[in-house]
Symmetry: C2
DNA sequence: AGAGGGTTCGACAACGTTGTCAGAGCCGGA
DNA sequence: TCCGGCTCTGACAACGTTGTCGAACCCTCT
């Protein structure tokens, strides 16, 4: 017996199923399924009756059951390092937008830079049977994903390369960007340039250091041992390293290149406390860099583009494309704003 | 017949099930389930054999089926406005951390400030049967969630109140924060203070405007019509509004209060281009505010705390707590840095 | 030797949905 | 009148897991 929606039929703590709706509307289970999924072959009269029952009971399809039956979840997973890091917000958002155009939801989690947690998260997402996985690696061994990939899990790595496994990777051009940034300092007359970056076991950090060395070598400039300080990005460590380079009695550096935006911000603070101007170029742009005095010259990478390209690659694979695993490198842009154009002092 | 793990048994594009593992290990289906879930009642010998088969076949439990059977998904949904906005990164992360301590995953989506999209997202999450929902409202009518809540979906709103529905809400003290910020300007000698904020139909924006008026009233200061400019936060609109207040021939303002951090940043740019110093206090802190010259005085809200409190409330409800819907208001903090302590010019 | 209790294990149903297939009803044409 | 071919509908199995329950076995005690 069909009936008009009456709130009283909504019951607390009970999830009506298609079976309930079918009974309420006086039709078969499958007919409800057809209406819910807008499948053809239902008379307008029947459809209307079913719709009324759906609203009366407050029915909502249980996607878990649907997923179980269909095998596809219409969702993709994103494992990233830290959602609170402003670099990953736009990346996350870009992945989400691409997913949205494909009708998929995004499930994400932060690894907090912990390889074990990255692994747990990625495998949890696999257990949920997301259709695909975008991973910003924290660890450097991703063989744990091999069974998943083999079983058909499309996977794309972003921002850092995958470790010991053959998979798509989307990266910024760390080497080229750092080389261009350092060359920019050299072009403005600097000869003694310091490099402060992240731990060298992080691939991007190592690449940026390599870019620094390449630029120096191309200008035939020697690099003193004391001028490179890869390591933790903790403000204390970074500040101490900078002070040491700047105050070196014999060969003080006149310019600094920062390996990522956290280092850059720390260096801005250090330099603000000093009288003699020091040139600074940072890898990775950040908000308000243009409002600081001097405004900060940076090598900008396009976080949104990283996310977009990675997600598109993922959906290409989900659509059936089977190209060989590829390394896609996106260009960086040098943005001169002032701090990188300060001439050497003394 | 049990066997040692041999990679060749991993087959492409095939997901082994517990049944496959059971056959491979020569045990019953349920025994595999027991091993996977670490349930007691399996001899070490059997367990070992099953583990070997699991690894040999690359088995991973299908959580969709598990969810279907158990009724709980161990995941919560978060609908927010824009992941790329730096304000929401820490909030998101805080929710995730709380979820993690409860063994739950976070599924999130951006509404892009579009009520219709918020609705779609929230309902999609309900269809996935997330255990609970944290919503940063974009719209102001959430009656669409009533059937879900009635059916047992725990729901907490953050940052802005829910519309036309009775539910938990966690908010920053917009009124009190704005009042304190404006009072701070008054305490530094200002009498003509401008307010530039977001559209007043946004609850927080209206509250902040109310706080501004309260502070002015408490100091017995009149508020000229031209001194309040609620509306779009588009930089052009904000800049024009600021210029108009500052250049008013009769009653130019000597200080500005910004209703949110986007407005603040725009005002910093506007003021940087002017010669006469103008005092500025912004609602909501932002990175590097302390490095600008002058450093920007703000009324800080704790985005992470908003997320944490909301998520904890959610899990309390999931654990069975059934308190009446409540409005939880978190305090704000005035952070004097320089821009808010500039005395009135002229 | 038999009873009693504990441990280990597997057959089976159920979760809510969708795909398959066949039945019922109707129409038009021979 | 009967048949073929539509359209609309529902019964049923299946997806992969977990909860229930009872069977089989081993040990101990009388």
């Amino acid at each position: 017996m069909p009936s008009a929606p009456r709130p009283s039929e909504l019951r607390y703590g009970i999830r009506p199923t298609m079976k309930d709706v079918a009974a309420h509307a006086g039709v078969g289970l499958k007919t409800v399924s057809r209406v819910v999924n807008r499948e053809p072959g239902v008379t307008p009269e029947t459809e209307h009756r079913v719709q009324a029952s759906i609203e009366a009971l407050g029915f909502r399809r249980n996607d878990s059951a649907r997923v179980l039956r269909k095998g596809r979840t219409a969702s993709i997973g994103l494992v990233l390092e830290d959602l609170a890091d402003p670099f990953y917000g736009p990346l996350n958002r870009a992945v989400e937008e691409v997913a949205r155009t494909h009708g998929a939801l995004l499930i994400n989690g932060s690894s907090a830079e912990d390889p074990e947690r990255e692994r747990e998260l990625a495998l949890a997402l696999c257990a949920r049977r997301v259709d695909g996985l975008v991973v910003i690696p924290a660890g450097d061994d991703h063989r744990y994903l091999e069974p998943e990939i083999r079983a058909g899990m499309a996977t794309v790595f972003v921002d850092r390369p995958a470790g010991r496994i053959d998979a798509d990777v989307v990266l910024s051009d760390s080497f080229g960007g750092a080389r261009a940034g350092v060359a920019h300092l050299i072009a403005h007359g600097h000869r003694r340039i310091g490099f402060i970056g992240d731990h060298p076991h992080i691939h991007t950090a190592a690449e940026r250091l390599r870019g620094y060395r390449a630029a120096m070598a191309e200008a035939a400039l020697p690099v003193a041992e004391a001028w490179t300080a890869p390591g933790s990005t903790a403000p204390g460590r970074v500040a101490a390293a900078a002070e040491a380079m700047l105050d070196d009695a014999a060969e003080p550096v006149t310019a600094l290149f920062a390996g990522n935006n956290r280092v850059t911000v720390t260096l801005v603070r250090v330099l603000a406390a000093r009288t003699r101007p020091v040139a600074l170029v940072g890898f990775d742009d950040f908000e308000l860099a243009d409002l600081l005095r001097p405004a900060v010259t940076v090598v900008a990478q396009d976080a949104a583009a990283l996310g977009r390209v990675a997600a598109e690659r993922l959906f290409d694979r989900l659509a059936g494309a089977r190209p060989a695993a590829e390394r896609i490198v996106l260009p960086t842009t040098l943005v001169p704003r002032g701090s990188g154009e300060i001439p050497p002092a003394g």
